[in-house]
């Protein structure tokens, strides 16, 4: 079970390989990667800067991961989140879940993302085409997505 914050990019295959590492008891590997989109609310963006709360971020992600482990039969998991400046098309976040069963792997990955969105202390500021910066508003849909896990 791994939590990692870093400014630089990651390679999904390499991250999976490290988690699986010669094991032969894993049946299902689910990954979610979130990318920077080139548009926000219908207008193009130039880039995005991710601010985070060092220390609390790692602690909160570890709490989220422990919660997922208690709910599903996981053989491993990874939450990897970038911070700093990112441009459209770049990867922001990676979640990986390993399980004997595909449904558990899918559910746990979606749970990790839903919780991360609403509980991990990250904030996005986007740069519009005219160079002005805008903090991204929290979306109610994310609160609703988290609420369904009870």
């Amino acid at each position: 079970m791994v939590v990692r914050l870093q400014p630089h990019d990651f390679d999904i295959s390499a991250e999976i390989d490290q988690l699986v590492a010669g094991r032969t008891d894993i049946g299902a590997v689910v990954t979610f990667a979130g990318l920077v989109r080139d548009m926000a609310k219908g207008a193009p963006i130039l880039d995005m800067t991710l601010e985070h709360y060092p220390g609390m971020c790692e602690a909160e992600l570890e709490r989220i991961e422990a919660e997922a482990r208690s709910r599903w039969e996981l053989q491993g998991s990874l939450i990897l989140h970038r911070y700093g400046r990112l441009t459209p098309g770049e990867r922001i976040v990676l979640v990986v879940t390993l399980s004997p069963h595909r449904h558990a792997a899918f559910e746990a990955a979606e749970f990790l993302m839903d919780y991360l969105k609403t509980r991990a202390p990250f904030w996005k500021k986007e740069t519009a085409a005219d160079g002005t910066g805008h903090w991204v508003d929290a979306r109610e849909i994310d609160d609703a997505a988290m609420a369904r896990w009870g």
Binding site: G34, L50, E51, H52, Y53, G55, M56, A59, E60, H81, I92, V93, M113, L116, K117, T118, R119, A120, P121, F122, W123, K124, K125, W135, V136, D137, A138, R139, D142
Partner: protein, 83 residues
């Protein structure tokens, strides 16, 4: 006690952190928001809608009703937008 600000709360207040010594009648995290808000114009702007401000004590999410006694670090920030 150390107070930290993030995202637009940080920008509005104009600093990332500071040490504060609130009076004894500031008991909860919500009391601290009110006390900080009353200090100056920037703080009033940062906390203009206290209901949207999220609070963490010693790097754990808390409610405005949580007492601050014993806290080393209290953080104020907008709703999170990671992922």
């Amino acid at each position: 006690m150390r107070v930290r600000y993030f995202a637009w709360v940080r920008e509005r207040i104009g600093r990332a952190e500071e040490d504060v010594s609130p009076p004894v009648d500031v008991v909860t995290a919500g009391d601290l928001v009110k006390w900080l808000k009353a200090r100056d114009e920037q703080s009033d702007y940062a906390f203009e809608r206290p209901e949207v401000i999220r609070i963490a004590i010693d790097q754990m999410h808390v409610q405005p009703t949580t007492p601050i006694a014993g806290a080393r670090e209290i953080a104020f920030f907008p709703p999170m937008t990671g992922g």
